[in-house]
């Protein structure tokens, strides 16, 4: 086992005849500085190259009228001024907020509800049910989009077929903006349940049985037990699920690309799609970067607000 020489990978050891004190000091340095540096080295480089660099570059671009080629030409805050007067930017941002506000609670309720049923001993066949409900996790956002497009197709979908068979009028799932958004929200809940459900299952299993039984002995009914024992017990997980789902919803892109393409028209174009369209399809790189900076600020603000909220409660 003992292989003292291996530490030379980190730093070549100095020739043997040296005072013992300095040698052990260097060894300690190997231990506590060089070894971890070697271990995190690659990821530090990746962090700098693919996170810090593009982040800084994006900030730089947002003050220029860069169009993808040529030199950077600084135009100060013109991009931001134009952006804040741009109706389609507000439309995209507003639609993103609507989508987030509707889809996050739905994802939260679905995952918590399913998780609660899956840890309840009164339910039979939990393992099989868990696998079934987990399956959507395997499916890519693009294919989730395709699946729901197929299900809710306006002229050929199963849902409209059922509605018309039952004597109703088929609903315009793709030509009505609000209905199209509803389909997107259903699809996001369907695809987002699985992973959050796992988080909740782990959290629910950690709630001490004794607490629930004590509450039951004291006469608390199922809802009271859930409200006053379970919910506080899983608060950290709830916080995490809400934070992650919110960020996820704010940057929703692939699923909508496949499901509606932002349609009908540009009614359901969300903010990342807006950035992609202006930045790549119209190559207004500077302008799109300004929009990116706004989205970045919004995401940071959301994270900070939720962190503070969490601290206050905890």
């Amino acid at each position: 086992m003992a292989q003292p020489t291996i530490s030379t990978v980190a730093a070549p050891e100095t020739p043997a005849p040296r005072p013992a004190g300095s040698k052990s000091a260097q060894k300690r340095r190997n231990r506590y500085v060089i070894a971890p540096l070697v271990l995190i080295g690659v990821n530090v480089v990746l962090f700098l190259v693919f996170f810090v660099w593009p982040g800084a570059l994006g900030m730089l671009y947002s003050f220029t009228d860069y169009r993808g080629i040529g030199k950077l030409h600084f135009i100060g805050l013109a991009n931001f001024q134009k952006l804040f007067a741009d109706g389609s930017f507000y439309a995209a941002l507003g639609r993103t907020f609507v989508y987030t506000i509707l889809s996050v609670p739905l994802v939260y309720a679905c995952s918590l509800g399913v998780a609660a049923l899956l840890v309840s001993r009164a339910v039979r066949g939990r393992t099989a049910a868990k696998i079934v409900i987990f399956l959507p996790w395997l499916i890519s956002p693009i294919v989730v989009g395709v699946i729901w497009k197929w299900l809710f197709g306006q002229d050929f979908g199963f849902v409209n077929f059922v509605i018309s068979t039952l004597g109703g009028n088929p609903l315009p799932w793709s030509s009505n903006g609000d209905l199209a958004l509803a389909v997107v929200i259903f699809a996001s809940a369907w695809g987002g349940t699985a992973f959050n459900m796992l988080l909740f299952i782990a959290a629910l299993k950690n709630i001490p049985e004794a607490l629930l039984e004590a509450a039951e002995l004291d006469g608390a009914n199922a809802w009271q037990r859930f409200r006053h024992v379970t919910l506080p017990g899983i608060a950290p997980t709830s916080f995490m699920v809400i934070l992650l789902s919110t960020i996820h919803a704010m940057k929703e892109f692939a699923m909508i690309q496949a499901l509606t393409g932002g349609g009908p028209g540009t009614q359901n174009t969300l903010i990342v799609q807006y950035i992609y369209k202006t930045g790549f399809e119209q190559s207004k790189v500077g302008y799109a970067s300004a929009a990116s900076m706004v989205l970045m600020a919004v995401l940071l603000a959301i994270a900070l607000i939720q962190l503070r909220f969490n601290r206050k409660k905890g």
């Binding site: 070894a35 996170f51 050929f156 299993k205 049985e209 995401l299």
Partner: protein, 309 residues
């Protein structure tokens, strides 16, 4: 977890039991007989509810898969039927041959496998360093990694593209692989795991004269095998299903991954549904296969471990 910590030791005792044992073990631990009777009574409606929900979740996928076996003429002919009247594999064959799907499949597999191997290895290294070496550098890097979860690639599409282009990675599979190696979740999963490994193990190995990296490779890495598998499956899923990186990095259709190819079929003016259905179902197969072989590493994994802080 916080609740368990606040309890007197006697009450908290069953907690470790609950934490690790899924299903049967926790059922056996259950208390008073009167209580059990009570639970048995409510079991029917709750079980029915659970299975109705499961059916609702299963239906979109089931309908999709069954549709992919229908011939093109039957897809749109009312009344629709749940099972295909005539079973056919034509959609799959067309997808595989006409759309050059085999190539996309190979590209996606290359990206997913290469990235997964690199991600697992470097996440283990970084997670271990963050857990076992507490100095300014590692603490700072921990915060940096945390920041990446708040600022996803989607937010910096254009500058990321510029970086890829300037590095000469544009239009190559390496351009998807290299930037995807660093993932916060992977690092956090390993960090959380190594925090639970007692420091004594590290100290005694040091006293035995083992070098720092030897300790990591020979003792710590083998210990982390369960996390290794879990992250490998997660990473494979992320990469297989990724859309945004291939979208910005790839231009030449011969390098397309499945997701980009699928999007180009569904984004077309007239969607070729038989091909799209077949292609989509084919794209699901590898993950479904992997999931059923390794499901315990996903379903029983304490996924919250990696994300908790």
């Amino acid at each position: 977890m916080t609740t368990a910590a606040n309890l007197p030791p006697a009450a908290a005792q069953p907690a470790p039991n609950v934490e690790r044992a899924p299903g049967k073990a926790s059922r056996a631990r259950h208390g008073a007989p009167g209580n059990r009777e009570l639970r048995a009574k409510v079991s029917v409606p709750l079980t029915v509810l659970m299975w109705v929900i499961a059916a609702v979740y299963a239906f979109p996928l089931l309908w999709f898969i069954l549709s992919s076996f229908k011939p093109g003429s039957e897809l749109f002919s009312y009344p629709l039927s749940m099972l295909p009247r005539e079973w056919t594999f034509q959609g799959f064959v067309d997808a595989w041959e006409r759309v050059n799907f085999a190539q996309y499949f190979l590209n996606t597999a290359t990206v997913a496998i290469a990235t997964t191997v690199l991600t697992v290895f470097f996440s283990a290294c970084t997670g271990y360093a963050l857990a076992k070496y507490n100095n300014k550098g590692t603490r700072l890097f921990f915060v940096c990694i945390l920041a990446t979860t708040m600022l996803p690639t989607e937010v910096i599409l254009n500058p990321t593209f510029s970086v890829i282009r300037d590095l000469g990675l544009y239009n190559s599979l390496a351009g998807i692989i290299v930037p995807s190696v660093l993932t916060a979740t992977g690092v956090f999963m390993f960090r959380q795991f190594f925090l639970t490994v007692p420091d004594d193990l590290l100290h005694s190995a040091r006293i035995d004269g083992a070098g720092e990296l030897a300790i990591f490779f020979r003792i710590m890495l083998p210990l982390s095998k369960p996390i290794l598998f879990t992250l490998a499956i997660f990473s494979f899923q992320w990469r297989w299903n990724d859309y945004i990186w291939p979208l910005i990095v790839l231009n030449d259709p011969k390098w397309y991954t499945l997701q980009v190819a699928l999007r180009s079929i569904v984004g077309a003016e007239n969607i070729d549904w038989p091909v799209l259905l077949g292609a989509s179902v084919i794209s699901l197969l590898p993950l479904v296969l992997i999931f059923f072989v390794f499901q315990k590493y996903v379903l029983n994994a304490d996924v919250s471990a990696g994300l908790k802080d």
